[in-house]
């Protein structure tokens, strides 16, 4: 049945070369854990992407219930976690996934570092990776405020004071990020917009560049 549908589409649109070009490559021996078990370190990049997909999916579903307003934010998070079926699980995926994605990204970076994969011709991909790292930190920082409880609020107070400590532009940066003098209504809406639109958009663009370069340059050779 599925095969028939596939054949029907393929006959008209010739889709086989498209997915083969993307997906059908032999895994080199030095990258394949079936040959050398230690090659599992090459999985960390894929695992980082996997957790990112979970973040995006669970985040989209959380946004069905969450409201970025200082009166209702906490109540809506409480409701989605305690009243909605599987709310604990979906929020739990997003909550723990946010830390796990940083762990995975760090392990992936270590692998790239110790295999020397950042060297010519892959310098640009290292640069893109560092940008992804900053975007991830930004997602963690802005997302942390959203539940609007004491921990969220004071973490943001501290974070913005750190921004303020930057010479010359510090005060400006803090006011811009907080959306005014107080950390309140405008900070929450701003962080929400940054968390769910701006940074995920930037992230997808950077991931696209990351994967395009890998496809173009191939995986780096054995040590």
């Amino acid at each position: 049945m599925l095969q028939k549908i596939y054949d029907w589409v393929d006959e008209r649109l010739d889709i086989t070369p498209m997915w083969r070009d993307i997906a059908d490559h032999e895994v080199p021996e030095h990258v394949n854990p079936a040959h050398h078990f230690s090659a599992f370190v090459y999985c960390f990049g894929g695992l980082t992407f996997f957790v990112t997909v979970i973040q995006i999916l669970s985040g989209m579903f959380l946004a069905m219930y969450y409201v970025p307003d200082i009166v209702n934010a906490y109540e809506s998070v409480y409701y989605l976690q305690n009243e909605v079926t599987f709310g604990v699980i979906v929020r739990g995926m997003h909550h723990w996934g946010a830390s796990l994605v940083i762990v995975m990204m760090f392990l992936h970076t270590l692998r790239v570092f110790f295999t020397g994969s950042y060297k010519k011709p892959r310098e640009l991909n290292w640069v893109v990776g560092v940008l992804i790292f900053f975007v991830m930190l930004g997602l963690g920082f802005t997302g942390y405020l959203l539940p609007w409880d004491m921990k969220a609020y004071f973490a943001t107070v501290v974070g913005l004071e750190i921004a303020e400590a930057v010479p010359v532009v510090g005060t400006f940066a803090k006011t811009l990020l907080a959306g005014g003098e107080i950390i309140g209504a405008q900070t929450l809406t701003r962080f929400y917009a940054i968390h769910v639109f701006f940074l995920p958009g930037a992230l997808l663009g950077l991931l696209g560049a990351h994967f395009y370069m890998i496809r173009k340059q191939g995986i780096s050779g054995p040590l």
Binding site: S58, F61, Y79, V84, T85, F86
Partner: protein, 165 residues
């Protein structure tokens, strides 16, 4: 059946197991999110309290409009919402009609159009209902106005949920 017909190649075996395990893991990940999103559609409707609307002595043969307030729980937001009932008495019987048009939900008014006395009138698509709430044939509504569940305690009228007839 012979052994031959059941031969599964190594490639097939791997395809089946990997798709099976992968599908199981994907389902484990997606199922909580799907159920989470479906929750409002699967939740049982809550009970409604009966609210005092008027004293029975104030009711007349002519439908009168009564406003009352219910406490509505909408997820994390609890608020007072206004409700309207058209109530009249006929001998010993009391009828309390919902003002929500059964066509597409606009609000009907008793004698809302001077061309149609003794009828409820809906301005949206000119729907009409008799005094007892039955829809007038050849106007858009297809069923009578809903009625409120009611209780009478110490000479006062209390209204609850609306029910379809």
């Amino acid at each position: 059946m012979s052994e031959k017909e059941h031969k599964v190649s190594r490639r097939q075996f791997l395809t089946y197991t990997l798709t099976g395990v992968g599908g199981f893991m994907a389902a484990g990940m997606l199922m909580p999110m799907a159920r989470f999103a479906l929750d409002p559609a699967l939740q049982a409707g809550g009970d409604t309290d009966f609210i005092r609307v008027t004293s029975v002595d104030d009711l007349t043969e002519e439908p009168q409009r009564f406003n009352f307030t219910i406490e509505q729980e909408d997820a994390w937001y609890t608020s007072d919402v206004d409700r309207v009932a058209w109530v009249y008495r006929e001998g010993d019987e009391i009828v309390a009609l919902s003002p929500v048009c059964t066509h597409l939900g606009c609000t009907v008014n008793w004698e809302g159009n001077e061309d149609y006395p003794e009828q409820f009138y809906c301005p949206c698509h000119f729907g009409r209902f008799e005094k007892d709430g039955t829809n007038v044939p050849n106007t858009p509504p297809t069923r009578p106005l809903d009625v409120y569940e009611m209780e009478i305690r110490d000479g006062d009228l209390y209204l609850g949920r609306t029910v379809q007839r």
